[in-house]
């Protein structure tokens, strides 16, 4: 049995806004094992990015336990220990804004080293060079500024920055969504290599299921702040149970016949994601669900176990 690096129990994050309470994350439980790549899928309003932000400390949770290496880390960055800030790192979605346009790559990647006193001043350049090589960038990129390098390379710099503190958990929030297919392939391959070399654990967040299929060990899908299905990757794609999972899989444009054959055909996309201030009663997905039954609009389903590693939250699978 592999060791659990991160355990989340009953985690909630609510925001108070002028329109009402936004239940960004509404009581979720999952664990990430050491060394695995845990995939989190969801569209806008699902809460997946909020999970990432709370884990890394942008906000504190409203409720729930977040256990990292056995310790509760549910605090925001102002109160967190410096050690924790080294151990959990994040790579953001938008390469354009995740690097300060007025700072050089050396300053950007070297900053965490200086801040955590990981290197003496004269060794920083050498360590930055090492990190750049690790992400597959030429060493002389150190002197470049973000405006001179392309989107994919900016993401590689962001990854190098994340690796500077030798973290154990790296959260990747849609790292390749803004990139082209060929750049995406390069960045993803680099990430796989680095994970092997440094024995890292990844929380990989994306809406791109074809990447998920080839990168993640387990996949979880979120909708309106709740976890709908969790399974091993192969099961998730070959035997998706939740109607939302099926809807998502059938909406993805694919570029080959074999993939088209694999897609669940019976559930084309319907309706829009409701506003998170106005969550529907019962199961949040019921207004868009083609397979809904009577209880769906009244009662919120519980997470049910299909088999050892496959969980679904849907009334269709409840045994009476």
């Amino acid at each position: 049995m592999r060791e659990e690096l991160l355990t989340i129990r009953g985690f909630k994050k609510y925001f108070r806004t002028s329109q009402g309470i936004v239940r960004a994350v509404d009581a979720i439980d999952f664990s990430i094992m050491l060394g695995e790549t845990f995939g989190l899928v969801g569209e806008s309003g699902s809460g997946k990015s909020t999970v990432a932000y709370v884990l890394v400390g942008v906000y504190g949770p409203t409720e729930g336990q977040l256990l990292f290496e056995g310790q509760d880390i549910g605090r925001d960055f102002r109160i967190r220990s410096m050690r924790l800030k080294k151990d959990i790192q994040i790579v953001f979605q938008d390469p354009g804004s995740s690097l300060n346009p007025r700072r050089s790559v050396k300053q950007i990647v070297g900053h965490p080293l200086r801040m955590h006193h990981l290197q003496r001043k004269k060794n920083i350049a050498a360590k930055v060079a090492e990190l750049l090589t690790m992400v597959g960038l030429p060493v002389d990129y150190m002197h470049k500024y973000p405006r001179a390098i392309g989107g994919g390379e900016k993401q590689l710099v962001a990854i190098a920055r994340a690796l500077a503190t030798s973290p154990s958990l790296v959260i990747l929030d849609e790292p390749t969504s803004a990139l082209d297919v060929s750049m995406q392939a390069k960045v993803l391959n680099q990430l796989i290599q680095i994970q092997e070399d440094l024995n890292l654990t990844y929380l990989f967040i994306t809406h791109d299921l074809s990447i998920m299929r080839n990168l993640a060990t387990r996949v979880a899908i979120m909708y309106l702040g709740k976890l709908e299905e969790v399974a091993r990757t192969v099961d998730f794609f070959q035997k998706p149970r939740h109607p939302y999972t099926q809807m998502l899989l059938s909406s993805i444009p694919v570029s080959s016949e074999e993939e088209a054959a694999m897609k669940p055909k019976k559930n084309p996309s319907k309706g829009e994601i409701p506003s998170p201030v106005n969550v529907p009663s019962g199961c949040g997905f019921h207004p868009r669900c083609r397979r809904k039954i009577e209880t769906c609009s009244e009662l919120d389903p519980e997470m049910l176990k299909i088999n050892e590693e496959h969980f679904v939250r849907c009334h269709l699978y409840a045994t009476s």
């Binding site: 800030k85 007025r102 801040m115 002197h143």
Partner: protein, 295 residues
Amino acid sequence: MERESNVHFSVRIADTSRRYWYRYSSNPMSVLGLVLFLIIIMCALFAPLLAPYPKHAEAFVDVTNINQPPSLKHLFGTDKIGRDIFSRVIFGYRFSLMIAIMVLGISVPFGVVVGLIAGYYKGRWIDILLMRITDVFLAVPPLLLALMITAVLEPNIMNAMLAITVMWWPLHARLLYGVTSSLSDEYFVISAQVSGSSTIHILFKEILPNCIGPILTKVTLDVGWVILLGATLSFVGLGIQPPKPGLGSMVADGAKFLPGVWWAVVFPAFAIVLVVLSCNLIGDGLHDVFAVEEV
């Protein structure tokens, strides 16, 4: 390693200068503004050398030469006590620019810091406190505030500068407040926060360098406005005191003799127009430089 960094540094500066100049010079009016302003700076710096009658800028009277029209001897004519207006205008530029530098040199850093802090902590008590104080200063009409201060204290150039400084910093605070609060949502700032950077680092090394564009644009426009305000104060007798040459007080002196002795008013007034115009043109040009999206 050290030398490599220096090489890259100079290459980068050269590249950036080319890029900025390309954008700036695409508008001929901006270039004109720059040329005019450089001439004015020359006047200010080398006033004793450029003015044909440097002594006329101080206590000097020549009753034989009162109110002479423009001639080869006196390009802009002479004023009511016989002083050469051309020389006095050149020295007037020196005083005007001096006021602008001192006023902006104090009010801009102060306003920037206030705006940075308030914008970064947007929504918290410090933001509310700082911005409401800023609002109070902005609510008073600028000229009225300046008049009040100089009327209460002794009317002289130092107090005029103090008055203008006091009412100038809120404008920069407001500018920085806007820029900082929008920059605070950028991922590179969030990244710095969650990795544990100190607030000082974030404010001055992450956010402030990205504000240089708007600040610089505003400062160039401000030079013109501050000079105009200083001239207004000296026009009503509250700024530069006689016998020192203030462009505004020169206009006031000559106004009594209009329309006959027109040169005593027109040339100093035109000098004010010229400096404000050139600052505005430069400000516009800088706006183009910093506001354009890269292809």
